[in-house]
């Protein structure tokens, strides 16, 4: 695994919103081709901010990278427009499953293909592929995305990103607010793509248990800093991670599991 090239490299990254709010101060992270990297941390730790920085979305949200380095496949991300990153294979899915409500499921998916610059036949082939991965979407292809259930919207958002034929797929809390079975289905598809096609994934999750189960590596963010990093297995074994994020060392099942949580989707 260590022979694989680094696809995304983040070094000592600092981000400020609106010239005042310091959201990240010192984040390091590396994603190698072919692996699944989980980004975990509590509310407000800076996961979303980091993923926004990775897709160079911060300028549109009055945020700014003030220090550090951010490179995707040899490109300086802060100097590459989001749409150019997409064409280079870096595609993201936002927190809170954002579909284009007024467009049908299929139009949402097609938008993902055209945004990458796919031709018609590629779009058609990719549509079939996505429908194969998420059969529920196939059944609802004509339905306006705004009328889908939460889980279906998340699938549509992920499917739309897959239409962009990503090399690195960046997902912000795909499990948020979804039923465990739907979460399982989504992770099964993603892990399957990783195994079968070598799709590289960077996934932010609050659900640490879930994240560590699927990921190869994980980075723990705390208050805008990368506090811990390592292989998923080694993090699972650490006492501090277990007590902080996995609900206690002795009896993991007794404490409130992190998946039973919180907060309506944004």
């Amino acid at each position: 695994m260590s022979a694989a090239p680094t696809l995304l490299q983040v070094e000592a990254l600092e981000v400020v919103y609106g010239g005042a709010v310091h959201a990240l101060h010192g984040v390091d992270l590396a994603v190698r081709a072919g692996e699944i990297v989980a980004l975990v941390g509590a509310n407000g730790a800076g996961k979303t901010t980091l993923l926004r920085a990775v897709s160079n979305l911060l300028p549109a949200l009055r945020g700014q990278v003030t220090a550090g380095r951010l490179a995707y496949d040899g490109r300086d991300v802060t100097r590459t427009r989001t749409d150019a990153l997409v064409r280079a294979g870096l595609v993201g899915v936002l927190e809170g499953r954002h579909c284009f409500r007024g467009l049908s499921v299929q139009e949402n998916l097609v938008a993902g293909g055209l945004g990458r610059g796919s031709g018609r036949s590629d779009v058609r082939a990719d549509l079939e592929r996505v429908y194969g991965l998420f059969p529920r979407l196939a059944a609802k292809r004509e339905v306006a995305a705004g009328l889908l259930s939460g889980g279906e919207q998340q699938m549509a958002a992920i499917g739309r990103a897959l239409m962009g034929r990503p090399r690195l797929l960046v997902l912000d809390e795909p499990s948020m607010g979804l039923a465990p079975r739907v979460v399982e289905e989504i992770y099964r598809v993603l892990a399957g793509l990783n195994r079968a096609e070598g799709l590289t994934l960077l996934v932010a999750e609050q659900n640490v248990r879930l994240a560590l189960r699927h990921a190869h590596h994980a980075v723990v963010l705390e208050n805008g800093r990368s506090a811990l990093a390592g292989s998923a297995a080694s993090l699972r074994a650490r006492d501090d991670v277990r007590s902080l994020y996995l609900g206690g060392a002795e009896c993991p099942e007794a404490a409130a599991p992190p998946e039973a949580r919180r907060r309506a989707p944004a």
Binding site: D83, G92, L94, H98, L103, V110, A111, R116, G117, A157
Partner: protein, 344 residues
Amino acid sequence: MDALPRAAPRPHLPAGALGLGALLVLAYGIVPLTGTSYLFEALLTPFLALALAGLGLNLLTGYAGLLSLGSAAFMAVGAYAAFNLSLRLPGLPLPASLLLAGFVAALAGLAAGLPALRLRGFYLAVSTLAVQFFVAWALNRIGWISDDSPSGVITAPRLVVAGLSFDDPRGRYLVSLTVVTLLTLVAWRLVSSPTGRNLVAIRDNETAARLVGVKVARTKLLAFAASSFVIGIAGALWAFAYLRTVEPAGFNLDRSFQILFIVIIGGLGTLRGAFLGAGFIVVLPLLLARLGAALLGDGFDSGTLEMVQRIVLGALIVALLIREPAGLAALLDRAGRRLGRRAA
């Protein structure tokens, strides 16, 4: 053209190509033969011009979600550009000067759209307000634009196309109808193209649109240009085919609001909406005036009557939007479905 797999044809334009065909036969065949001058001059021609302006604004506000209060300014740019083109290039055929006027308005729209790359919502609306005031100022201050006529009043040239005179009420109606039909077709092609989908994507979620590779800045500017192009030509029709003599005050903020109301009442993000809304705005005041005169008698003070009309119109708009926030288009859809269900 349809090689790209698409979702079901949108319910926008061809609810039934049949109905559309019937409408065109009515508009081109029956109405011109049976209509009176009053029908052409007081109802149909202003209806067409306002519907076209609504159509243009709908591209921007309904589809791309960019709020503009500058519609009247773009109408003015179109009208005064067409005036200058026909004045200074006497050989230019009318269709060409309308088309060029549209392009001039599109350029103005492009400039007005630059702030949209940074601003959103009400802030954007305020910046389009600045365009509105700037154009009013320019029309009053720069005499050249109105060929140095006092207070900027211009008179339209005769409407002649390919040697045929359309300079009577029916002819002006037919010219308007043709322009509106063609531009509606173009708008329909635009909104059902990938670019049109991108407009909706930006409206529904700008960040997500960026994340799937939509070139947001370019698409927003395109929305401004296309919208202003259509609105500019609507302004030229308003001046040339309807009013014949226009002053800058005819394109003030009230007009911008009128166009915005048309779009909201008719239904944001639908092509039909502009026509339904324009029908509502043009026909209803006339009905109310008739009704008022019948109820209150002719002796009634006309100022009071007008105010009562405005209040009734306002109340009707509020009632409609509470009942159906998506406007007349959605209301009709619903009624149509209910009828269909009953028939089945």
